[in-house]
Symmetry: C2
Subunit: 205 residues, 2 copies
């Protein structure tokens, strides 16, 4: 499992006495996300419920996206990973995103990945959060200099890409669909990257 | 909900006294599929458990695929629908499959579709069955006259296609991903059909 510090902004271990407030925040966040859904839950409300200053949430987690990722026990922040993988030449966008997705899930595959996914699917609040975090992150990586730079079109592209990325994760890691589950990463990238590239930056009609 | 008779071969309502044996078969099938998984469960074992002749299962359901679909309360048989939609010119394969998928799920959308999908994801036996039924059905519709007609390659194509179709169903019906959930069917087909066409019958490398 990769060190989660650079991604979540957690500084566990550097400061004594911070573990308990971190845990209190996580507990409060799980409750708030489940009760209100991702959009309506706020860092301020979670801080109040946890009995800490809102600044502590940014200190421990770096923001709402990363706090949500931490409540899922994901060893990475989907939004941060998408933004990082998207940086670079437009032509390789799909390839970089699919490669990074596979690297992350291959590394944390098996029971952990499956249980996170199942948990998400069983709880509407978590579903809403996954939806919000992943789609918003993908909207931001649709190339703005494209032929259709407007917001609605970017959102359409992002949801199409999300459908393929989600289906890939489901098929390879949760359902174990035959060769898709066992193929070398490079072969999966060759198969799927052109789809993601077209959805985000290619001709759709 | 469409009449399920043409797909499942059910003749409910035409014969008096058949409802109880049909229900007994469904109960036994749910138990056997859950206990053994789709592949190891057999029509013969299910018939024995239900206290009926195996021929009654074909009479009521038309076979193992359709019996499995009936245990899920799906108003259609995935395998039969895939085979039917695939018939026709090779060029329109992806378009016909995506169109039919959307027609079926749009018609049964909402709580039913979501609960079937969630049930499938929560139970390994059901997961295995969905995997087996859908992937085997897709393997059979990969054009044999392609550049790579061998079985392994067909299976690779089928699982890639399954990943996109699955992600589409998840995104549009279960997660409700923004515009993907609300877009007119024709627009979704324009977006997704080229992906499925390439996976099943186009150049992959």
């Amino acid at each position: 499992m990769p060190d989660r510090s650079p991604v979540t902004g957690s500084r566990r271990g550097r400061r004594s006495g911070s573990a308990s407030s971190r845990d209190a925040i996580l507990d409060a966040a799980r409750t708030e996300f489940a009760a209100l859904g991702y959009r309506r839950a706020t860092v301020r409300r979670i801080a109040t419920a946890a009995g800490v200053d809102p600044a502590m949430i940014n200190h421990h987690f770096g923001g709402k996206d990363a706090l949500f990722s931490a409540t899922l026990d994901l060893p990475f922040s989907p939004a941060a990973e998408i933004a990082r993988a998207a940086a670079g030449p437009r032509d390789g966008l799909g390839e970089r995103l699919v490669t990074r997705l596979l690297e992350l899930w291959d590394a944390s595959a098996g029971p952990t990945a499956s249980s996170v996914l199942r948990t998400a699917l069983e709880h509407d609040g978590t579903l809403e959060a996954v939806r919000a975090v992943v789609v918003e992150a993908l909207v931001r990586v649709v190339p703005a200099e494209g032929t259709d730079p407007d917001e609605q079109r970017a959102r359409w592209r992002a949801t199409l890409a999300a459908s393929q990325l989600l289906g890939l994760v489901m098929g390879r890691y949760l359902l174990g669909l035959g060769p898709l589950a066992t193929a070398p990463r490079a072969e999966v990238v060759r198969g799927v990257a052109p789809t993601v590239q077209r959805y985000l930056a290619g001709p759709l009609d």
